[in-house]
């Protein structure tokens, strides 16, 4: 059974006709072509498919689009402003925080949500916030460094770091 829904993804309204049981992950990737959202398990275990729903990190593999009408969905494609990368994206690239890059979109969005709540988190808080996102390449070290650098750059005094 298919249902007609309207999703707001990266500030754009998108009308869709999708099977009711199709997950947000599948709809983003297959119906909207937003392949930046990755799947690591499709069981809600690894954090790879994380997107933001009204600013909250949400596992898109467990979310059903029909529940999300009227809410703001943000994927990694929605992080940059025009041609300007989000400070997190910039810092991840500069510091080598993305190796294979597969977990990167989910981690970027989780970190974005953290910085929205806590602009200057401690390293311990960053570790806690990212504990649900598995990365097998980096040992997390460069990821934590990059979130700290982005937080610093986003602070009023840190724009030139």
């Amino acid at each position: 059974m298919k249902t007609r829904i309207t999703l707001t993804v990266n500030s754009e309204g998108r009308e869709l006709l999708v099977p009711v049981h199709k997950t947000l992950l599948e709809v983003l990737r297959e119906d909207l072509g937003l392949i930046g959202t990755k799947h690591g398990c499709e069981l809600g275990e690894c954090g790879t498919c994380t997107v933001l729903v009204d600013g909250e990190p949400t596992l898109s593999c467990l979310a059903l689009p029909a529940d999300l009408e009227g809410l703001a969905i943000t994927t990694v494609e929605g992080m940059a402003r025009g041609g300007e990368l989000h400070p997190l994206q910039q810092a991840f690239a500069e510091l080598g925080a993305a190796q294979c890059g597969y977990c990167t979109p989910g981690i970027l969005l989780t970190a974005q949500a953290l910085l929205a709540d806590e602009p200057q988190p401690s390293r311990g808080r960053i570790r806690e916030a990212l504990a649900g996102n598995l990365c097998r390449c980096t040992g997390y070290t460069k990821i934590l460094d990059a979130v700290e650098l982005a937080a610093l750059r986003m602070s009023p005094s840190g724009s030139r770091v």
Binding site: K38, G40, E45, C46, F92, C100, G101, C137
Partner: protein
């Protein structure tokens, strides 16, 4: 020299970093082609069973199903990555040997329909006894998993002896005999394997796949599908994590190709996470017995190692893995005589293969823990003992491996100093002697050390040949850009970036001016693949050679124009000119035009093959490498005596990288290796019950999160190795090795319990503490070895201490050729 580099040594972003942080990178499962169908594999629910019959009629009748195939629709030929182990079928026809063996494949209009069709395939199995461990497989020769090998259920039996070990041990002050077990574990890349195959109307096949070895897949697909290789193109998509798990040709790749051929549409097969656990090819479980002699001062007199590998259901890289559990050990410390016996045993579990460190983390764990025990018995500091016995640079080992530069001593100094080793060693030991009352929290701190060595690229290819191991073509464009074609596969380690940095360095360009086109068998020269830590060294040397040839050609043309000698010309800042007269230097783009006018198309090859210096004995081809990297690691941790919980406080790692071509990338490889080693030491294990994988999921298969990963303090030691590109060695695998024994040694330092088995879990710590309380030997580890006859060893003279062979044949190295 170092000061003259402009690109090398800079902490530059990877050239693909921008695509990766914006979600633009297209991995295999992100590819969508018009009219594409979706495939699924039906996998065996039995660990060992004969296939009586497969009926696909109900599946074929399901609306939306395009095709259903079994092994009978494929050429009846067995394959395997190693020529000596041709034992796999993409779809099993007679027998399944593990839960997860594929028996049929479906292509349908969508994934859901393909899944439904799989459930409509009727397979009649006759279950056979499942052998789930080394002991079981050796104890039941009447049950045969394969009909080939070196004995019933024995895939490989090897024995090598370099000098008279018994005599050396007899003359030793101390002889230690220890038994260790290293549980198997898996790569767990975040990207599940995926493949898209398109058999075009022109009769040509293109396969996009998440593979680390497009060349080997290309070679084998021709045989497996009975198609001319010239009509097959394999493209490795950017790989979302490999670690050795994407090095074989796999059932889903082959089935996608065949299905596409049959239905005339592109076919995608994307594996589920559970399937990735069955594909496996991960760390071998290894049981080890090691007997080592020492002088009173701690010098090793000789070593005898026996290993039993649980290979799982298929050969895969297992013959190489078996050798690797033995042959790299003598590279680290002086070991005048050495004997190694190894056996790989088939079991009804997912096949093991190469995982980061391929076959070496297990014996490294054994050797480094044994050194810790010996140091204690000899009254020596474990760091001092290791420094005393370092292998000599530019010599040969007992087993005829040529060692070049060695930075291990400096690595040990770095981690000892940075960690406060001497102070903490004494302080924690003193604290351990005090007893705390039961009502107080009883947490104990410990600090442990280990060293290691690893190869920078295998000295021989998987199939015997005299061709380059890595090839690069550089092409200059009139715009001033340069294109690099190379078969290397970027699995996140940054090989694409290395392929931009090195030509940029040689040609005085910015890496952004270099366009890298990797891993496409129809376009790029062969690179053997992303394994054995070979890529930076082999592609790197080839890329430097190609770029140097281009520079020489351009220099000739510019020299003629400027009326100077070509040798006077400098390439830098995107210009070519004479340093004393830099105002007249011309833009690189103009220099390219002059070069093209003089020579025609500016495209030059670079080739690399390792120096030929394998030991002249059977088996001597496994182990040689152009050079070896070295690492030293100190771990500080806290053990809770009430719960057995182990908390890592800090890890210090120093790595001999030869030269850091990009320190940021090297650190990333080192940190990732430490992380993966921590997982293997403390939580990761492939565990089976009644033939079934106990936890084929990311939630239950425990791996470290940010919370379990401690601060990692990384130090890079540069030894400028003559074999490496600008002196560089590997970074991707070696640093994993020492962290596992360093953890076990630190636990002993904290609570006095020897952990001779990994992963080390809290219940093991508590069992060890209980044994200690009872006054029994406080050791957790295996207590029995299988009854097994190794082969009569091949006796070879020890080459220990002989000078390195400086005149080894270096194929393709002549720059003027």
């Amino acid at each position: 020299m170092k000061d003259q580099f402009t690109v090398v040594g800079q902490p530059l972003p990877k050239i693909d970093a921008w695509a990766k942080v914006t979600g633009e990178t297209r991995y295999a499962d992100d590819l969508v082609l018009p009219r594409m169908a979706f495939g699924k594999l039906l996998r065996s629910p039995h660990a060992h069973a004969r296939i009586r019959a497969i009926d696909t009629s109900r599946a074929r009748a399901l609306p939306g199903v395009y095709a259903v195939i079994t092994g009978h629709d494929l050429p009846r030929v067995k394959f395997g990555i190693l020529p000596v182990s041709q034992d796999e079928e993409a779809l099993c026809t007679e027998k399944v040997r593990m839960v997860g063996d594929a028996v049929a494949a479906v292509a349908a209009v969508d994934e859901e329909t393909a899944d439904a069709a799989c459930r409509l395939i009727d397979v009649e199995y006759e279950p056979l006894p499942a052998l789930m461990s080394i002991h079981e497989s050796l104890a039941h020769p009447e049950v045969r998993i394969h009909e080939y090998g070196d004995g019933p259920n024995v895939h490989k039996n090897v024995a090598l002896q370099f000098g008279d070990v018994e005599q050396a041990l007899a003359a030793s002050h101390l002889v230690r005999e220890d038994v260790f077990y290293f549980e198997g574990n898996t790569h767990l890349p975040m990207e599940q394997h995926a493949a898209v195959a398109h058999f075009g109307p022109d009769g040509k096949l293109t396969l996009w796949s998440s593979t680390q070895t497009p060349h080997y897949v290309h070679r084998l697909l021709g045989k497996i599908l009975d198609l001319p290789g010239a009509h097959i193109r394999v493209i490795a998509a950017p790989v979302g994590g490999g670690f050795g798990g994407k090095l074989d040709p796999f059932a889903h790749e082959i089935a996608a190709c065949k299905l596409s051929q049959l239905i005339g549409r592109p076919v995608k097969i994307a594996c589920t996470r559970e399937e990735v656990f069955y594909i496996h090819r991960g760390r071998h479980p290894v049981l080890m017995w090691i007997r080592t002699g020492f002088t009173r001062d701690g010098d090793i007199t000789g070593c005898h190692l026996r290993t039993w590998l649980d290979g799982g259901a298929y050969g895969s890289y297992g013959v190489a893995s078996t050798f690797y559990t033995g042959v790299i050990n003598p590279v680290t410390y002086k070991m005048p005589v050495y004997k190694f016996e190894g056996a790989r045993v088939f079991t009804n579990k997912p096949p093991c293969g190469p995982k980061r460190g391929h076959g070496t983390p297990q014996p490294r764990f054994a050797l480094e823990c044994q050194l810790d025990k010996a140091a204690e018995q000899l009254g020596l500091d474990p760091a001092d003992l290791r420094k005393r016995i370092l292998q000599e640079p530019f010599t040969k080992t007992a087993n005829h491996l040529t060692v070049t530069t060695i930075g291990l001593g400096e690595c040990i100094d770095k981690v000892v100093e940075a960690s406060g080793w001497r102070d903490k060693r004494a302080r924690f030991a003193a604290a351990a002697k005090t007893s705390k009352p039961l009502w107080q929290s009883r947490k104990r701190k410990g600090i442990g050390i280990a060293g290691s060595a690893y190869m920078t690229g295998a000295g021989t290819a998987i199939y015997w040949n005299n061709m380059p191991h890595s090839g690069v073509v550089v092409r200059a464009d009139r715009s001033g850009g340069v294109t690099i074609l190379c078969g290397a596969t970027d699995i996140g380690q940054g090989s694409d970036s290395i392929l931009a940095y090195l030509p940029a360095e040689v040609l005085g360009l910015d890496p952004k001016d270099v366009h890298v086109h990797p891993a496409d068998t129809s376009l790029t020269p062969v690179d053997l693949g992303s394994y054995s830590s070979r890529v930076t060294l082999m592609c790197g040397v080839a890329a430097i050679q190609a770029a140097t040839r281009l520079r020489t050609a351009i220099a000739r043309a510019v020299a003629a124009k400027l009326e100077v000698a070509p040798e006077q010309l400098v390439f830098r800042e995107r210009k070519v000119g004479v340093l004393d007269d830099w105002e007249k230097a011309m833009p690189f783009a103009q220099a390219v035009e002059l070069g093209e006018a003089m020579h025609g198309v500016l495209a030059f090859p670079g080739s690399y093959a390792p120096p030929k210096r394998a030991g002249k004995y059977k088996g001597g081809g496994v182990g040689p490498s152009p050079c070896y990297s070295y690492s030293a690691c100190v771990v500080e941790l806290t053990v809770d005596e009430d719960t057995g919980w182990i908390e890592l406080d800090d890890v210090w790692i120093a790595h001999d990288i030869g030269r850091a071509l990009n320190p940021l990338l090297v650190e990333g490889q080192v940190e990732g290796s430490i992380y993966m080693g921590i997982g293997e030491a403390l939580m990761e294990g492939q565990v089976f019950r009644k033939g079934l994988h106990k936890h084929p999921s990311l939630l239950e298969y425990k791996s470290p999160t940010t919370l379990e990963t401690p601060p990692i303090h990384t130090f890079l030691v540069e030894t400028d190795d003559p074999e490496g590109p600008f002196g560089a060695k590997e970074a991707g695998q070696g640093p994993l090795l020492p962290v596992i024994p360093a953890i076990a040694n630190a636990i002993y330092h904290a609570v006095g319990v020897r952990m001779d088995e990994v992963p080390i879990t809290p219940d093991m710590v508590l069992r060890g503490l209980e044994l200690k309380r009872q006054g029994k030997p406080a050791r957790i580890g295996p207590d029995r070895l299988p009854l097994f006859r190794f082969k009569e060893p091949l006796a070879v003279e020890s080459a220990f201490g002989q000078p390195a062979d400086a005149v080894a044949v270096r194929p393709f190295a002549d720059p003027s050729a």
